[in-house]
Every structure is written in C-alpha cells, then in structure tokens.
Symmetry: C2
Subunit: 333 residues, 2 copies
C-alpha cells in the first residue's frame, strides 16, 4: 500500500476498490426510484439520494459479497435495497423528528410536505422489497424482513423511551440496533449469504456489522457532548437540548446522587433547561467517568467487530473493514 | 341454502363459512402485532385492528385458497399479511389526510400523534413482510411486493393529482388501483398461488380482485354524491368539499362547456366554494349523465369480476364471491 493510499480514509479506499460495483448500484438506484406516473417521487428521492450521503451501507454489502468471492449480479440489488431502506427511514425520521435540515440541506418534509415524505418513504420501502425479491434468495429475504422489524420496533421504542430516565443500557442497545446496527448487520450478512459463504463467515459478517453499527452510534453520542475533549463546540449539546437518553447520560443517571437525580429529572424528564445546564451535565458526567465509560464501550464493540473478521477469507477488503472499524472510534481519540 | 342464509349479506356468509380460518387469522394478527419492547405498538394497532373493520381482504385470501383446494397452513399467514398491509396503509393515510375519525372512532394520529402513526405503520409493514417470507413462496412475495409498490405509487399520484382538473380516467384508475384494487387483487391472487392453482385460475383470481376493488371504489365515489338518487344525505358532498377528482366529476369535467369549466376551476381547482355549489355540481353531473355513466362503469367491472370466476372450480365459495360482487353495486341500485 502506497503512502497516498494509507492516508486515505478506509471508507474512501473501499469506495475506490468497489467503484465499478458502486456505479452499478447508483444506476440501479436511479432507475428504480423513477416512477412513470408520479413525478413527485423522483423529485423527493433525488433530493435525498443525491444529497451526497456516504453510501456506507451499500458499500458494506458489496464488500461482504466480494470478500466472500461472489461474482453474480445480485449483490448490486441488495446494496440498492439497503440504501432504499435507509433512505425511506430517513424520510420517515425527518417527519417524526420534525427536522428542518439533513446533511446541511432542507429536509424533504420542509421542501414538499410531511405527506410526500411519508408516502415516498413507503414507496422506497416497497421498491426495496421488489429489489430483494428479485434475488430469489429466501434467506436474504428473511434477514431483511427481520432487520426491517427491528428498525421499526427500535424507532417506536425510541419514541416512548425518549425523556424517560428509567431507560436502561439494554433498552439503549435495542434502540441503537433499530436506529443503526440492524441495517449495518443485515447489509453485511446478506452480502455473505448471497455469496454462499459458509455459516461461520455469515455469522461473523453479522457480528461485524452489528458491532460496527453500535460503536458508530456510541461515538455519535459522545461527539454530541464534545467527544472526550470536554471542549464545547458549536453543535455540542443538541442531544441534551432534545432530552435524549444517550449512553453517557444513562451511565451518569445510573450513578446519580439525590441532587444529580433532581438535575436530570428537571432537565431531561421535565425539559426545564436553563443557562449553564449543559455545563453542569458535562461536569456530572465527568465526575462519574460516564464519557470515558461510554468510550470504553465503543472500543470494546470495535474490538468485537475486528475479532469477528478473523474467520473471513484473507482479502484486501478485509483489511479495509478492520481499518473502517478503527476509523469509527478514531473520531473520539 | 335456507331462507336465513339467503337473507344474509354475502360478506357474512363468507365469514361464517371461513369462521375457523378467520379465527386463526385473528389469533395470528394479535400475536404478531405484539411487541415485547414497545408497548405503544399494540396500543395503536389494537385501536385500529380491533375497531371492527370488515376484514374483507383477509376473507378474500382465505376464500381464494380454500376454493382452490388448499389445506396447508399458509393461507392464514397471507390473510394476516394483507390485513397488516391494509392497516399500515390506513395509519399512514390518516396522517396524510389529517383525518380525525375512522370507522366512527378517533384516529390513531389524534389519540397518540403522527409520529406513532408513521412508525407503527412501518412496524406493521415490516411484520407483514416477515409473515409472507414465512410462506417460503417466492411468487407470493413477488405479487405482494408489486402490490405494495402499486399502492405506494397510487398514494403519491393521488396527492399530486388531487384538485387537478387534468386528471383523466386513466389516472383515476391508477389511483384507485393504488387505493383499493391492488390489495384486493393481490389478496385473491396469492390465495390461488399458495394453493398451487393452475395458471388460468390464478389469473382469474387476480382479475376478480382487481375488478371488485375498482367497482367498490366507484360505488364509494357515487355514494359520496348521494348515489344515483339525487337525494342529498348527511354525508353527501365530502369529496366535493375535499376537492377530489372522483369518477363522476372527471366525466362531467370532460364534457364541460365554458361556464361549467369555470365552475369546476373555481370549486375544485381553486377550492373557492360557496353555498349552493354542491347542488350546482350535482345538476351539472346530472345534465351530462355523469353519475349514470359512472354507475354503468361500476356494473361493467362487476360483470368482469363475475365472468372471471367462471374458470374457477365449482365450489360453495364461488357462489358467495359472485354474490359479493353483486352486493358491491347493490348499494347504488
């Protein structure tokens, strides 16, 4: 590997290695999101699909399939499937969260309306479903059906767990699997299944995606409180203001004394926040080592992800997936 | 058939004949809509699923499968699948239409919130998907995936076609297939497919469901303008007030003179409605025989539905399906 390559982010190296496959995926996405009869559909989807997301999920599917020696056509369908599911989820999330921006652009629900976001999301779900049925692989369908159910259940759970100080780490994990990890693990697992990989490799691909997704989300949680640097940046505290029970908060709540408990009750459960509360929250979390503990959890999930890869074939892609896992936590190192 | 039986509605006779199957479907629905982790889910779904809908779609699936001699377990999964898809669609529809009532009860979006309706709808879609995958029948999956896409596309089309006087009967048909007929035809078709019925019978079951669904929707359109009785009832004119391009209006618009055109422009396209406009709309439609023409269309679709049944096995259920088709238009006779 040359110096230039080593300097590239693992995600970009994967993209470069899988460039031809990704081009096929992008073409399939554009073709399948078209609607002969309802021009609103490509308007809404193009806005989102072409907004320059990282396409991490389809890359994971392609990577898994190629690493396991697949040379058929259906990894492209499956990669497009996971991207459609992801995009549909984003459309519905923006309605649920009443978001105004995504990836620095106005959201579809703001540009058009909530109706379009709900219905075009449904359309993308149904398109993703058609794509996966085309593979003719029942196991793949089973995996993606279960992932869809986990995603939907996690979203509802998040809705009811929000602002609830009784939220445990177990519930948090379930929500995170719904938000992120279930689609990551399905993306990698179906890549192995479509390639006809042996059972232990398929299981390892699931574990890799699951652990990567969880680590990814924990790191996001940490970054929202300024990472472990304790320096308050311009986006610091969004989760606090939105009263989200993220991992560092859950850890701090679990160890709270009466005073701190009252603080969390007021700011998170009741949402009565005042000047200086974010700083106090950071202090309390620091006192209990909550950020450090969450960071240790993220590192443990990354270690699990990398360990899982050991049973997979020696392959250039495998090294990139190891680096990708490290890169996820590098953001908080 | 005794006198009592003959007096029963065809739908109730089907329900009685298929009572044991329907009980299995109801049990499956209750079991599968449960969520261990997110209690909001069964709250929302129970509200809707147990609100006493007619369960017409699952009945159609059971009827088709039994008529074609099926005695395996999977018609129950498929019947539950179509009811879940239907319920999910209703949840999302109520968000899109901002409805306050459904079946005489407050809608879920009013009782809880739009968020719950969107996410629980997604949950039911994913559950329906798991149920159909369990049948292990790829053709059934293909049919239901295509029906889902038609439904979603039709909903978006309806959104953009609403209040647009350029809406043609062809576009109307597409919207109606999305709203109603695509799930009816999928419901009957998968019943035949799971039973391993010969190809001509499967095709006939599709045609029956499709034609029945279209007739059903046209009749609904007519009833909204008081049927053909020209008597204005208490719910008459909802579609007019909501500026919907339903079949009688489309037919009247197609024949409008300059004056009438201006009337439709003002009341439907621009939504400027005043006292007496509904009566004027009825007059214009009567002048062009628009209601009668729409009624003739409904009758033609019913005839098509009944004709299709001819290739199906002689069976008690077949007679009930013939009667069901007649019953759909009896509401406007």
């Amino acid at each position: 590997m040359g110096l230039d390559e080593a300097a590239q982010k693992p995600h970009d190296r994967l993209s470069a290695w899988l460039a031809a496959d990704m081009e096929a995926v992008n073409l399939m996405i554009r073709t399948r999101m078209a609607s002969e009869h309802a021009p609103r559909i490509p308007q809404v989807t193009a806005h989102l699909v072409e907004a320059g997301g990282k396409r991490l999920r389809p890359l994971l599917t392609l990577a898994a399939a190629r690493m396991c020696g697949y040379d058929g056509p259906f990894h492209v369908h499956l990669a497009a499937t996971v991207e459609f599911i992801h995009t549909a989820t984003l459309l519905h999330d923006d309605v649920v969260d009443e978001s105004a921006q995504r990836r620095g652009r106005p959201t579809a629900n703001l540009l058009w309306d909530n109706k379009s976001s709900v219905l075009v999301g449904d359309y993308l779900f149904s398109r993703s479903f058609q794509l996966m049925v085309e593979t003719g692989n029942l196991r793949v369908l089973d995996i993606l059906a279960n992932a869809s159910a986990t995603i939907a259940e996690g979203e509802v759970l998040q809705l009811t767990a929000a602002q609830d100080l009784a939220t445990t780490e177990a519930i948090y994990l379930q929500v995170v699997r719904g938000k992120t990890a279930a689609l990551f693990s399905a993306a990698t697992e179906v890549g192995g299944v479509i390639a006809g990989a042996p059972e232990d490799q398929v299981q390892a691909l699931f574990t890799y995606g699951d652990a990567l997704g969880i680590a990814f989300q924990i790191v996001d949680d940490l970054l929202d409180y300024g990472g472990t640097s304790a320096v308050i940046g311009k986006n610091t505290g969004d989760d606090f203001r939105e009263r989200k029970l993220t991992l560092p908060v859950i850890k701090a709540v679990a160890q709270a004394d009466a005073d701190e408990r009252a603080f969390w009750e007021r700011t998170i459960a009741k949402g009565q926040q005042a000047e200086g509360d974010l700083e106090r929250a950071l202090e309390i979390m620091a006192r209990h080592g909550a950020m450090e503990a969450a960071r240790a959890d993220a590192l443990a999930w990354v270690a699990k992800a990398k360990t899982a890869l050991a049973v997979l074939p020696e392959h250039e892609i495998r090294g990139m997936l190891v680096d990708l896992a490290d890169y996820v936590v590098a953001r908080i190192n």
